[in-house]
């Protein structure tokens, strides 16, 4: 008798509670309904959801809010999402999108470890931020320190220190700006990749040519040869720079690069087919693919 009553009572109470709570919540969801702009939700779905903060907002949700409310008009701020994401967002907002290009990281330094002069022995902490505080880690006070702050900041395994110089893997780079924010010398900038391969000034040294040649074998001397050749090039405080707004108009890049006596003007990005053909007979190290197998599986434990 006791068991039967307990069972029935338990079932009845739970059923009543379920119905009651369901009714209350259903009522509440209608009474407390908050109108959310369907546009904002659609934009939120279109964004990658990486919450990297590259757009300048706290996360994808905040960027979607700003776009939906009209506070932010630029749909191209999302680096990881790239062009397809910007197009999707523009379609949701019903606006025409001007042509855009993916922004990717460019390291404005070309000096590998052996190219740098006036180096000193450094035994401090192996981070760029620490080495940047001491004078004389290397002669050049503008160039890459090569201790890998950017490598550690990268979530996409797209930047690596190779032979003392940070080198971007453009197939993996999403343009999230984390490396440029991590660099204590601010030599990593975001460049619009209007073609798959871009010409960049791979030097950040604003010193006079004489001083540059003392500390580096490849850096820009500020000789102005390239600026005389093309309007694309400008002089900025003893350092040549490229005006990317006019990049499409320029036809003859060979003439510009030919004028440079140092190694300051370099091509970065995905190589074109002509480049691959030209270097076919040279030995190139294999591209290392990421292998996610854990080491635990094939470790033998002995004693």
């Amino acid at each position: 008798m006791v068991t039967t009553v307990t069972l029935i009572l338990a079932a009845v109470i739970l059923a009543l509670l379920a119905v009651g709570m369901g009714w209350v919540l259903g009522w509440a969801s209608r009474v407390f309904y908050v109108e959310v702009d369907p546009k904002v939700e659609a934009i939120n779905d279109a964004l990658p959801g990486a919450n990297c903060g590259g757009c300048g907002y706290v996360g994808c949700g905040a960027y979607a809010d700003a776009l939906g409310s009209g506070e932010e008009e630029d749909v191209t701020l999302c680096g990881p999402g790239g062009v397809s994401c910007a197009e999707a967002v523009a379609a949701i907002l019903g606006i025409e999108m001007t042509e855009t290009w993916p922004y990717k990281a460019v390291v404005h330094c070309a000096a590998h470890w052996d190219d740098r002069l006036e180096k000193m022995e450094y035994t401090g902490e192996r981070t760029c931020t620490a080495a940047n505080l001491v004078a004389g880690y290397q002669g050049c006070t503008f160039g890459c320190l090569g201790l890998g702050d950017c490598e550690r900041a990268c979530d996409y395994d797209a930047i690596h220190v190779i032979d003392g110089l940070s080198t971007v893997d453009y197939e993996a780079c999403t343009g999230c700006k984390q490396c440029s924010m991590a660099c204590p010398r601010n030599i990593i900038t975001m460049v619009p990749f209007k073609r798959s391969e871009m010409l960049v000034v791979a030097c950040s040294n604003h010193d006079m040519g004489k001083d540059v040649s003392k500390v580096c074998t490849v850096g820009c001397l500020g000789c102005m040869s390239c600026t005389r050749e093309s309007d694309l090039m400008e002089m900025d405080n003893n350092l040549s720079s490229i005006c990317y707004d006019d990049y499409e108009q320029c036809e003859d890049f060979e003439a510009i690069t030919g004028k440079c006596k140092r190694a300051s003007l370099v091509w970065v990005g995905t190589p074109t087919e002509a480049d691959i053909a030209a270097t076919a007979d040279e030995e190139v190290p294999d591209r290392i693919e990421v292998d996610f197998k854990t080491t635990v599986d094939d470790t033998e434990w002995r004693g």
Binding site: M1, V2, V5, T6, L9, A10, I13, L14, L17, A18, M21, V24, L25, A28, S29, V31, F32, Y33, V34
Partner: protein, 232 residues
């Protein structure tokens, strides 16, 4: 006066001596997960205090009138059915499912309410509210209250249940804020490679738990002090 001193003892017991996180080790997931920055940790602590109070209120009502042995509702049903005198229907097996149910739906309700009428508040801890639904500290508080509703001679009233809940919430806030403060400093410390992240966090939590052991016996001193106060 007697009640007030017992309430003070319950509060100190829940907040410091038997701190939910550092003595019973419940609510560890938010304690480790949301303790990276002091301001978010404090927000999480306040949200937990808020939810734990509401959940404890509801669970006390349900336990007192339905679940405990000899509760009015089952007794009434038993008498209506014409059951024999002396035997009682005990529904306390339903406690877990009931508490989870009550916590989840009340949190949902509170979230909707806050979102509608307090958008600022919703933005500041709206993210944490759904997380708290599955926080074991809340369930622990409900079960602790149920424990004190088992013996018909020493039943806890609603005020005692609420004081326990608020004390538990305050204790959680203290623990998580302290942890966040330590972890902010820990970012600058030279931690061995193998212990970085969760490892050192757990070690710190263990040391904090040992430190909180020092509160053992404080209740007896407070009790004596209160007694002396009443006596005078």
């Amino acid at each position: 006066m007697e009640t007030v001193s017992s309430l003070i003892l319950i509060f100190i017991g829940a907040a410091l001596i038997n701190n939910f996180v550092l003595h019973y080790f419940v609510g560890i997931c938010p304690f480790l997960g949301v303790s990276r920055r002091v301001d978010t940790a404090f927000g999480m602590g306040l949200a937990v205090t808020f939810v734990i109070t509401i959940a404890s209120f509801l669970s006390w009502v349900f336990t007192y009138y339905i679940l405990r042995p000899g509760a009015p509702l089952p007794l009434w049903v038993w008498n209506v059915m014409g059951g024999a005198e002396g035997a009682t229907v005990d529904l306390s097996v339903l406690s877990y499912i009931m508490y989870i149910f009550v916590i989840a739906s009340s949190v949902q309700f509170v979230e909707m309410y806050v979102r509608k009428f307090q958008p600022k508040l919703y933005e500041s801890f709206g993210v944490f509210l759904p997380l708290i639904t599955t926080n074991c500290a809340i369930l622990f508080a409900c079960l602790e209250i149920m424990k004190h509703l088992q013996d018909p001679t020493q039943l806890w009233g609603l005020h005692e249940a609420l004081v326990l809940a608020i004390g538990g919430g305050v204790g959680f806030t203290i623990a998580i804020s302290l942890m966040a403060g330590i972890r902010e400093e820990l970012d600058l410390a030279d931690v061995p490679e193998a212990l970085k992240g969760a490892g050192i966090a757990l070690i710190v939590a263990g040391i904090m738990a040992m430190a909180f052991m020092g509160f053992t016996g404080v209740d007896r001193g407070v009790e004596q002090a209160l007694m002396a106060l009443i006596g005078r």
